[in-house]
Amino acid sequence: MISKDIRSYFPILNQEVNGNPLVYLDSAATSQKPVQVIEALKKYYEFDNSNVHRGVHTLGNRATESYEGAREKVRNFISAKSTQEIIFMRGTTTAINTVAQSYGGANVEEGDEIVITYMEHHSNIIPWQQLAKQKGAVLKYVDLEEDGTLSLEKVRATVTPRTKIVSIMYVSNVLGTMNPIKEIAQIAHENGAIMVVDGAQAAPHLRIDVQDLDCDFFAFSGHKMCGPTGIGVLYGKKELLEQMKPIEFGGEMIDFVGLYDSTWKELPWKFEGGTPIIAGAVGLAAAIDFLEEIGLDEIEKHEHKLAAYAMERMSTINGLTMYGPKDPEKRAGLVTFNLDDVHPHDVATVLDMSGIAVRAGHHCAQPLMKWLQVSATARASFYVYNSEEDIDRLVAGLNTAKEYFNDVF
């Protein structure tokens, strides 16, 4: 069980917002950082900061060891075969764009199909729209079930031998749905397509095993899993990455540079042009240590428990609609909702005045908002530092919002 003491590792949570103790329920947007991560960044900049892979000097060696040590930590975290398959990038968005432009650019042709779903985040829609336009390829959407889940039958009906790429989120940032990636990857492979996974909402919350999932690419961001912003990871199967061309050229990624042509370093460095995100990787490694110490299985359990508690408590509020699967076991730790007659922005402002941070808007998922037939929603998302008391505060805040908008005016 996750102890409430976990909260004390997060200095930012120890403050008042608008005269009330802060309740942070926006971790699906970005998570807060524990003191272990903040200290690791501080230590890196105070003692080890240097450029990597080039200096002969001691600091250069230390920085290189920290950076490559972080890569090994990530490899182990997602159970990849080799550190050559772990590429550091700015985040999930850059990782998916890299797959679209590099792998997609070389392998997708006119009339080929790319399959995504209605629940995708913009970062797993637009790179594919752009690729489809460049190539004259067809972008296809798998429709959702009424409860916001995916049916394998519909996936099977959408993926065909003309499909080259299937790209689907592991966990929905709006519905909380956990998608059957392993089964979908199998369907993709049976049709000769590759499987790309947007793991931004999965990596922070559940144990990832890319070999078991048998996905070809897996993208995630550090900042949603207690790490710093500006660092993320693209995992790719070595045999695919080896065939792919870099899309950024410059220092660090080259082997030999002539006047008119150059050759690239081996994996993973050929995809890491320029001075890499060294401090970010160090911070991400500290975040992984922190999460591993708690245990990813414990984190997943904690979030199911909070989701179940939130859904039960929120269902007592009249006029409140929740979106996504009804069964808390089928969803991650977030609840997206609307309150009748109160716009989500107004809900978020009232909650903010009570010190409660939630997200309001379209959550970077406009096609899904259209599917849900809403223009915006509010979302409360939970992480290791949240407790049932935070949800009690949320429910009280929502009752205040209702009272304020329905009774005061």
Binding site: N18, G19, H343, P344, H345, D346, T349, V350, M353, S354, A360, G361, H362, Q366, M369, S375, A376, T400, Y404, F405, V408, F409
Partner: protein, 145 residues
């Protein structure tokens, strides 16, 4: 709990415009402007009839929070019948008000004044300014056509 801090934002007149919007709908034979706030999904469909340098009529449709819809309702009410330069002047005053700057108070702002509290809620300023930006764009289009 006390609603004092909320009352700075949500004044009675704002909620009145939100619940009973003025000039809701669409005009025919008009300048049409569609605008949205890409970060939050608020959306306005504004139609303006401008002739002889005067905003003859204005109507709006859309979806959004209380602040954005009330502001749209107030804006249409304020610019209807006004010469274009006066409408643009009101827009400047409104923008200054939202930025917390000193604003020209020689003109009677009527209901618009109620939105002055929005300046204290930085995240909500773009909700209030959406309709005004749409109006500016529409008037500009018309004066160039």
């Amino acid at each position: 709990m006390s609603f004092n801090n909320l009352d700075q934002l949500y004044r009675t007149v704002i909620m009145d415009h939100y619940k009973k919007p003025r000039n809701k709908g669409a005009l025919e034979d008009s300048v049409t402007i569609d605008m949205n706030n890409p970060t939050c999904g608020d959306r306005i469909h504004l139609t303006l009839q401008v002739s002889d340098g005067v905003v003859q009529d204005a109507k709006f449709d859309g979806e959004g929070c209380s602040i954005s819809m009330a502001s749209a309702s107030m804006m249409t009410q304020a610019v209807k019948g006004k010469p274009v330069d006066e409408a643009l002047k009101l827009s400047t005053i409104f923008s200054d008000m939202m930025l917390g700057k000193e604003y020209d108070d020689s003109i009677d702002l009527g209901d618009i004044e109620a939105l002055s509290g929005v300046a204290k809620f930085p995240a909500r300023i773009k909700c209030a300014t959406l309709a005004w930006k749409a109006m500016e764009k529409g008037v500009e289009n018309e004066s160039h056509s």
